[in-house]
């Protein structure tokens, strides 16, 4: 956070804002006239997680379980930003990530481990969502109709992920085993997004300017997860084991976005 503030301050000072009157010395009306609302109508893109070293060495096949997690859709919608002098902005945006978990590696691990069972999985490929609200700060540098805008976003999101359940039938008998994997973590997940956007402004007759652009984004969404693995055979008590896993979940995303600027 501190690094980001220094970065933004450096950008501001390079742009010659020092020649402008200080904000405190501006009459209130003049200060308000420098403010403009931008509606971040939508961002559509794709993201992908880096696997990272933290996955190796996890017990009970969890390395295989997490290796199949990836993100597909990466969306932002209904954002609102307020710009001062079309340069510095503060805002918020609703965001969502569609994550896909392919459990084939984990199912393969289980097939080897429980070779006396038929391992059937109906959850080889399933999706879950991360949705939340992100607060942003940015600095914009304009070049005629184009602009370049580094942004920082702090996201608070809710991760709704189903537990993993597998039913296995023993070969040669009626016996079976139920395997359940539950991930417990904080309800509210924090994420830190570092974004660089480039866009083109389109002027229209209406008092609205359109902005169409591309943005690249690096983000981390740290999680501390307590994974509970339960194996229950028919007529027997469940055998439960728990493992704590800390992950940064670094990811890279690319999006197309469309903004509206209100006012000339």
């Amino acid at each position: 956070m501190r690094v980001l503030l220094i970065f933004l301050l450096a950008l501001v000072s390079f742009d010659g804002l020092a020649n402008e009157p200080l904000k405190d010395s501006l009459p209130p009306k003049r200060f308000i006239k420098q403010l403009r609302f931008h509606i971040n109508w939508m961002e559509i893109g794709a993201a992908t997680y880096f696997k990272g070293k933290s996955l190796s060495g996890l017990e009970n096949g969890l390395s295989a379980y997490y290796s199949g997690t990836r993100t597909n859709g990466h969306y932002g919608l209904f954002g609102l930003s307020i710009y001062y002098k079309e340069k510095i902005s503060l805002g918020f945006i609703c965001f969502s990530r569609q994550n896909t978990s392919n459990n084939q590696n984990y199912v393969d691990y289980l097939t080897n481990r429980y070779s006396n069972y038929y391992v059937q999985s109906s959850q080889e490929d399933y999706s879950y969502e991360t949705t939340g609200l992100a607060f942003s700060a940015s600095y914009r540098k304009a070049f005629r109709y184009f602009y370049l805008e580094p942004k920082f976003r702090f996201g608070l999101s809710n991760l709704s992920k189903d537990h993993f359940y597998l039913w296995m039938k023993e070969r040669g008998s009626n016996q079976y085993m139920e395997l359940e994997l539950n991930e417990n973590h904080k309800t509210l997940l924090k994420s830190y997004h570092f974004i660089l956007a480039i866009a083109h402004q389109f002027k229209t007759r209406a008092p609205i300017k359109w902005e169409l652009g591309l943005q690249s984004e690096f983000f981390i969404a740290p999680t501390k997860t307590s994974v509970t693995l339960s194996e229950k055979r028919y007529g027997a008590d469940a055998v439960v084991s728990t493992q704590n896993i800390s992950r940064l979940n670094p990811a890279l995303a690319f999006s197309v976005f469309l903004n509206w600027k209100l006012g000339r």
């Binding site: 308000i32 059937q120 039913w167 039938k169 040669g172 008998s173 009626n174 509206w260 209100l262």
Partner: protein, 194 residues
């Protein structure tokens, strides 16, 4: 700036209104027709593979299953059947299910309930206990048709989860009592071996 905001809201009012209108549910109530489970006969089955298959008179005792072959019949004539597009439901409720053996089985006397020793195979990855409070009796004896037949067959499997301590020949009886007073029952004899 406020004027611009007001103009934006006025011009884009429809964008927010249309999804609201689309969310109105206009679902039509569907017709219902009835069928009846008219007969049942029992066979032996082996569940040593992924799914049970019909077996002969000798079955490995850890993989034994009773196969219920059911015959269902729609309560309508052929003409009505060809035009009917609604849902089919069983006319009768199954009020009781009883599995017994003609001889003592794992310490349970002959003709006493063996329901606790069996599970119902509901699907590829679901075995359920024969607990009447869950409505499972109806699920055992009712199966929707897959095509537009007037009569159709279906199989249900009851899996023996506690094999006999003593190998030998056993005769199992299964009877289902329906809400209209009918009782469907049959028996099957099997040699269970280790």
């Amino acid at each position: 700036m406020l004027n611009h905001s007001k103009k934006f809201l006025r011009t884009n009012f429809l964008i927010f209104l249309v999804p609201l209108l689309c969310a109105v549910d206009c679902k039509k109530k569907e017709d219902v027709a009835y069928y009846e489970t008219v007969s049942m006969n029992l066979l032996n089955a082996s569940n040593s593979g992924l799914a049970p298959v019909t077996a002969g008179s000798s079955v490995y005792k850890h993989a034994y299953a009773i196969q219920l072959n059911l015959l269902m019949k729609a309560q309508m004539d052929s003409a009505s059947n060809s035009e009917f597009r609604g849902n089919f439901i069983n006319e009768d409720q199954v009020t009781d299910l009883l599995i017994t053996s003609s001889s003592d089985f794992n310490g349970i006397p002959a003709n006493q309930s063996l329901n606790n020793l069996f599970l119902f195979r509901e699907g590829e990855s679901k075995y359920s206990e024969l607990d009447p409070t869950t409505g499972i009796y109806n699920r055992i004896f009712s199966r929707e048709r897959s095509d537009r037949e007037i009569e159709w067959n279906a199989e249900s499997y009851l899996l023996l989860m506690h094999p006999p301590q003593i190998d030998g020949t056993y005769t199992f009886y299964v009877s289902g009592t329906f809400s209209d007073g009918r009782i469907l029952s049959d028996s099957t004899t099997v040699n269970l071996y280790e």
